[in-house]
Amino acid sequence: MTRRLVLAALAVVLLSGPLHSQRFSSGAVAVRVDVLVTEGGRPVGGLTAQDFELRDNGVPQTLDVVDGAEVPINTVLALDTSLSTTGKRQSDLIRAGEALLARLRPSDRAALSTFNHAAIPTVPLTSDLAAIRTALGSITPSGETSVMDGAYVALTATLGQPGRTLVLVCTDGFDTWSWLRPDDVLEAARRASVVIYGVTSSDARRDAGLKSITDATGGHILQVKSSAELTAAFQRILEDFRNRYILAYSPSGVSADGFHTLDVRVRRPGASVKARPGYTGITQRR
């Protein structure tokens, strides 16, 4: 299958619903998995389906592969606006957000959600990036920190929307006020087609929640030493995300329900793979 044909086929998958696991019984079955392949810390390009091996609950699957750089993306910025982000941290955060928006393409969309103790879907998914910039500029830090609640609101921002979704959670502190626990967000993340990245200036070792949800979605945490590094961190995450491959397949030989363990490998010596470790198959009620 040529790349163009794969893209055309995948577009159907991506537009057909919000969840990476559509109804297994409908015939329009598809699971997609965002995969980052690196070698020496740098993304590896030019791979084809023959370079990948994916097992769903241990059963090898037939794959279609698309270079993620070709597919429009949804970027959800989930920004910590608690009191501790006042001053230089705030201006650095706004600058980083604007720098990321500047690198989006016309076909991309973005959303902004903010969290202190309250998690607010500030600007819904839109191609009107000026609206995001305006909202960024009006952030007023206050209050405490609810990272998990904020991450959950961010990941739901693109439910029902077509496209690949990157959720970027940026915090300078620790989760102190959330109602939702990491396991709750994890369960939701396994049902949504998002990759969550975290950026934190605090000691990530002290707060396992954010790490658990980034790992579960195939993302990871970038720890910065100061807010001055936020712009570079945001840009690197966007670049990573664009350099991912999308593996798509119709599951065969596995049941539809429950949690599916994914094992993704690349047939290239020295290369490493970052992908979600599994997903939960669900059937939408409505």
Binding site: L19, T156, F174, W177, E187, S202, R206
Partner: protein
């Protein structure tokens, strides 16, 4: 004459020391007289000149006041037992006459109640204005440690009036420095102690003895509420340790102690355990240990008062957290039979939803979350809980509808009862103090 002789002996033993001699100095007695006037004149609950005077007392002032205060309070205790003191010198005589006069009007019990309230009001005022600079305070080695560490200290090493401890302060999961302990709290506690030991036969007020215990419990409950509301956790545990020593079966204080243990298990405190800088690490127990401790306190509160709905609901949250979902649901169902209202009803449904979810009963969970939202429609926690449960059930439409409501409001911390969960009784602090002040107003 036997009681008089005994009384004289007690007095000589009690005040026949260096402090007693200092009590004869005029500045100490003058300060004591000013303090008595402040107690008598202060209008409870108002930031008047008297409470301001107290809140501005520096360490050096308290050092001067302490000898006369110690003597005066001992005289009150003795006179309340109808023991008479042999006084030495004019200053001691003045103090004895002052104690006697107060015993007549307004009576020692009422005086001590008003004094305890004055110092509570001073502590609140000091807290609200951010404290005062006190260059006279001796530099001490910092007490770096958590409330748990402090609770292990068996007794204060100095008289309550001269307290000069320092506590570690944290905010939003991070250590932000140190803060001096407010001397008003330990001193006020010593006044409550005295209130409970004075013998009513010597008190001319004729007040029923039980009312002092009621006041003491009310005072401790209200002041603990203030501490919890303002995150004064080292003060809280010292306060409750004393409260439960003198009032071990008061259900509200047992509940407060449970809330304190419970809040140490919340993420906002647990994150402080993981501080990697040794000099700022706080000795906070593991969530498992402190949650088990909290369960014990709530159970004790329920033994005394089985109808205490919020204690039962909080107990259920801890049971659910420990994986005992069935037990949690049973406790909440029992609590709901009393038709709790407001915040207690909200917590009951929110925690019942989580327990049901733990049992895989998503429909029950969603019903409870919806019930919580019906109690407090703006609360984020119930909206998120509904959204997440809907998503797990494959109901994306509802999942989205719930989160979309989040953007339609501003959110002070009072909006969501979950955000004020760690306040415990602190969410009712204004009402509790209003009731307390009403007890001693002229």
């Amino acid at each position: 004459m036997r009681p008089v002789v005994l009384g004289a002996l007690v007095l000589l033993i009690g005040i026949g020391n260096a402090g007693a001699q200092e009590a004869e100095t005029s500045p100490s007695v003058q300060l004591l007289q000013q303090w008595v006037k402040a107690v008598e004149q202060h209008a409870p609950g108002t930031p008047d000149q008297w409470v301001e005077t107290i809140s501005r007392l520096k360490y050096a002032d308290r050092l001067r006041l302490e000898p006369a205060m110690t003597t005066f309070l001992k005289l009150v205790a003795m006179q309340s037992r109808q023991e008479f003191a042999v006084t030495r010198g004019g200053a001691q005589k003045r103090l004895s006459e002052l104690a006697h006069q107060i015993g007549q009007t307004p009576g020692w019990a009422l005086f001590l109640k008003r004094a305890a309230i004055l110092h509570a009001d001073a502590a609140i005022l000091t807290h609200n204005v951010g404290g005062i600079d006190d260059p006279t305070m001796p530099a001490l080695r910092s007490t770096v440690g958590s409330a748990r560490t402090i609770s292990r200290v068996p007794a204060l090493p100095v008289p309550p009036l001269l307290t000069n401890q320092r506590f570690v302060a944290s905010r939003d999961g991070q250590v932000v420095g140190e803060t001096p302990a407010d001397w008003n709290w330990p001193f006020a506690r010593s006044l409550i102690d005295l209130l409970l030991v004075i013998d009513r036969t010597g008190d001319q007020s004729g007040e029923p003895a039980g009312s002092r215990a009621v006041f003491a419990a009310d005072w401790y409950h209200a002041t603990t509420a203030f501490m919890l509301r303002n995150g004064l956790y080292p003060d809280t545990i010292m306060h409750l340790d004393r409260a439960l020593t003198i009032l071990p079966r008061d259900p509200r204080l047992l509940f407060d102690r449970g809330c304190y243990a419970e809040l140490l298990g919340l993420p906002m405190q647990q994150i402080l355990r993981a501080e990697v800088r040794p000099e700022q690490r706080m000795d906070i127990p593991s969530s498992e240990a402190t949650n088990a401790d909290a369960e014990g306190w709530f159970l004790r509160a329920l033994e005394v008062e089985p109808s205490f709905a919020e204690a039962r609901v909080r107990l259920a949250r801890l049971q659910d957290l420990a994986g005992r979902h069935d037990a949690a649901l049973a406790e909440i169902e029992r609590a709901l039979t009393s038709s709790p209202r407001g915040v207690t009803a909200y917590y009951a449904h929110l925690f019942a939803g989580r327990a049901a979810q733990g049992l895989g009963r998503l429909d029950d969970a969603r019903r409870h979350y919806a019930a919580a939202s019906a109690v407090v429609p703006e609360a984020q926690s119930a909206l998120l809980a509904q959204s997440q449960a809907a998503l797990l059930a494959g109901d994306v439409t509802t999942a989205l509808a719930m989160t979309r409501q989040l953007g339609e409001r501003t959110a002070p911390v009072t909006v969501d009862p979950w955000w004020s969960y760690h306040f415990g009784a602190g969410r009712d602090v204004n009402d509790l103090f209003a009731a307390l002040w009403a007890q001693v107003r002229h």
